[in-house]
Symmetry: C2
Amino acid sequence: MNSNGDGITQARETGTLGKLMVLLDLVTHADAPLRFTDILSLAGQPRGTLHRQLSHLVEEGLLELDGDGRYSPGLRLLDFAARSWARNEFRLIAEPHLAALQQATGETVHLGVLRGSSIIYLDKVEGRQSVRMYSQIGNASPCYCTGVGKAALSLLAPESLRGLVAGLSFTRFTASTHVSAETLLAEIREIADRGYAFDCEEHEAGIRCVAAPVWSEDRTFIGGISITGPAYRLSMELLREWAVPVQLAAERIMEGMRIRLGPRR
Amino acid sequence: MNSNGDGITQARETGTLGKLMVLLDLVTHADAPLRFTDILSLAGQPRGTLHRQLSHLVEEGLLELDGDGRYSPGLRLLDFAARSWARNEFRLIAEPHLAALQQATGETVHLGVLRGSSIIYLDKVEGRQSVRMYSQIGNASPCYCTGVGKAALSLLAPESLRGLVAGLSFTRFTASTHVSAETLLAEIREIADRGYAFDCEEHEAGIRCVAAPVWSEDRTFIGGISITGPAYRLSMELLREWAVPVQLAAERIMEGMRIRLGPRR
DNA sequence: ATTTTTGTTCCATTATTTGGAACTTAATTT
DNA sequence: AAATTAAGTTCCAAATAATGGAACAAAAAT
């Protein structure tokens, strides 16, 4: 029953916590608040069991139950996340370099890390603000159709890569989305050779990006940074030019991490 | 023991999930990554037990363990929170009204809800952007020293209010922070009468705000909106003037919720 | 008014968590 | 370098919590 949408869930689903997290995933990934019965059919568990599990999640503030008996994600999650984000060392170190890259190109810059088979966006720097915060930050996107994702994959050892790709279920988002392991693996090899990746409207029509891989020495972080923008403004030629500054920024971030984290180990 | 910093934790700490959440709280509320031994002393649990609990949290991506054996909040929390935020109905309805209020005054506008004895900020609209996102959103602040917090308290029934205030542990942030239940309750009564609240540098020196209460009909949300800014620019006189537009915006948000949520109940 | 659907509570059975102790590994001291 | 101490991990019988079927209650639909 592990209908695991996009592979953040890396855990086996045994253990009390594991079961509860499956439920939390279910509710947070839904498009609208779910009623008890909806969850019942999705989770495929006995009513009594499910009821108690949901009650526990509500008690802890991880879910909220409104007057109509509909379950939504709890706001306590926001508090946890705000702290998680504010203190993230990788993000703190990368921030100035992302800002510089944004200044230099005028386009939107992203920072993301690989978790399971998803990219979680850690930061986003935009030129013209006024865009909603949280708009992208925290969001999980598939690794096989994003610049940051493919850059991250290019860092994996052959076995890990094969294992990860084997577990992917491809969704076609646009005409150019990779939908087979073979073409994806071929492109990853190219990316590993040249050191940077493109996303040519593979995730969203009309959106392109160049991305460079970033990693920490202890491999806790495997991710990347990217410059993203509309296809009409970002020709492939321009993107190829920008590969240089993106790679440079990636270098500087990794240097920053060595300085900051190095001494302790 | 349950050294519960600021009262978001509303749950009893029994049950498997409850115990794990205490740990998650501990790690996310710390200022830096914690080592096993640090957590051991803070949590006061047997080593074997703690070790397994932490392992489970790491397996689920709620905590991360780096190469130096230090535990940090997990990035999976970001994914949960991003979804929780993106879909929050209250926030979606309030958004345009917050933006309008920001435009009208030129100052920063906040939206927050009461959870336990904390205010969780759901949204923030700033004039001059370039400020870091997540900067305030998701953060939990005490209810007794914020405009939104006091506005929210003014909505509670006498018994609930007394119960909540009795459980508060006051921290003096500035010279004007409320540090006794009596003076706080007195001010809450005033606020309930006039319909809006001030924060005169009670949480942060040099920062003032006016806030109006907002609530949903089913009382799922009890919170408020505020206009915040530096004391040198926001005289008390100006804040009193702004009480009107803030209350108006609050009215419109509540109207929006009735329209959006009403039909179904 | 009756039936059906939906949501909640109960409790013996089953599975998981607990915590002390033994064990391994890493860091510090002599 | 050996000895000592501290830090982290694994194990297993006992204690505790979760399970799931069924009975019960409340709301909708007929």
